[in-house]
Amino acid sequence: MSWTKNIQGKGPMQAVDAVYAAGPEARAVAAAQRRLRAALQSQAEQVYYDVLPRSPLGAVYLAAGRDGLLAVGLATDEPGFVRAVARRTGAMPVRSAERLRHARQQVDEYLRGKRSALQIEVDLSYVTPFQRAVLEAARRIPRGTVITYGEMAARLRRPRAGRAVGQALAHNPVPILVPCHRVVSAGGELRGYLGDRVGLKARLLKLEGVPMLGDRCQIAGRSGAGR
């Protein structure tokens, strides 16, 4: 039966009503309202930020709320970072060297190769559950090693979700702290980092002692050049 015949019996506006009048499901409304209340609640919390002006990776911006560090900005500027944090948290971040002192110092030491582990609380409550699972998995990759997007997907028991994993990592709000740079493509190519900043990714991996062959890195546990 053609679609027009279906409409014919009722009249076009009744067909429109059938699609639009009922509105969203009660469950969807309740979920949206829950999210809204949570977002407005977080608005009441203060978010602070500061910058590490001259790190080996250039200026590094850091923002933290009550529950930990929630944003790291590389290859950005102050207004851009503030805007991104405000958008994510719904709060207007306030610059505070004091509140970020501890995190700033650790990140600085880490990037200068004077520290091998970061002990900073990270707040991942602003990302989706899937992205959080990906980021949590990335945090478990040890320093000095890399894995592929496919392996990451397999670890999450979503073997076909390689692309989704790539997307989740590409939108990592806290690079360096969540080491998304330790995930590379199957051939060891570094592929994207914060858009096209593959150079930053290479520098982080070198800093962590990952063997590099030109613009590729060696993937642990793979037979291949250099093994």
Binding site: M1, S2, W3, T4, K5, N6, I7, Q8, P12, M13, A15, V16, D17, A18, V19, Y20, A21, A22, G23, P24, E25, A28, V29, A31, A32, Q33, R35, L36, R37, A39, L40, Q41, Q43, A44, G90
Partner: protein
């Protein structure tokens, strides 16, 4: 929450504003994002607001602007997301809706989305959100007469677009020539 009145505003109107955004965007997730954006913007401007009796219309205005920019953004990259949304909507459709076949609903949605934004907004505000023409004028911009005209034009266009045009078997004019 900084202002108890603002909290009341959330409780009183959020379901209604969500339904409006859902009707404009036809995507539960995007509607939820847009609802958050709407209220966060509202929260920032709330202390400066003088006429608290217009709060509802004011929320509708912010929501309308938010939805417009989302619709503009996604105009470029439809396809997969849209398909998934359609499938989700199919799954979520009420029993009454399910009796209409999928193709019919797709056509109806496509027709509504094809309307100029002011007409689509005015139609949804009038017919499904139950607002008066003066309120609609305040929300989408323009005069009360223009609001009335927008609703009228929207309905006329939808009727024309969704009316069976041809004898059975003949290709419909709207499908055009490939």
């Amino acid at each position: 929450m900084p202002d108890p009145t603002f909290e009341a505003l959330v409780e009183r109107h959020s379901a209604e504003i969500y339904a409006y955004l859902w009707r404009l965007l036809r995507d539960p997730e995007q509607a939820s994002d847009a609802l958050q954006d709407t209220y966060l913007r509202a929260l920032r401007a709330f202390p400066r607001l003088k006429h608290h009796e217009h709060l509802r219309a004011w929320l509708y205005t912010i929501a309308t602007n938010r939805a417009r920019s989302l619709v503009r953004q996604r105009a470029g990259h439809e396809s997969r997301q849209q398909e998934m949304t359609e499938e989700m909507a199919d799954l979520q459709a009420s029993v009454g809706q399910r009796v209409m076949d999928r193709e019919t609903r797709r056509r109806v949605r496509a027709a509504v989305e094809r309307l100029p934004s002011k007409q689509r907004e005015a139609l949804i505000l009038r017919r499904y959100q139950g607002l008066g023409y003066d309120e609609i004028a305040a929300i989408v911009g323009g005069t009360t007469a223009a609001a009335r005209m927008n609703v009228h034009l929207a309905q006329r266009r939808l009727k024309a677009w969704l009316q069976p045009e041809d004898e059975e078997g003949r290709p419909s004019r709207r499908r055009g020539v490939s």
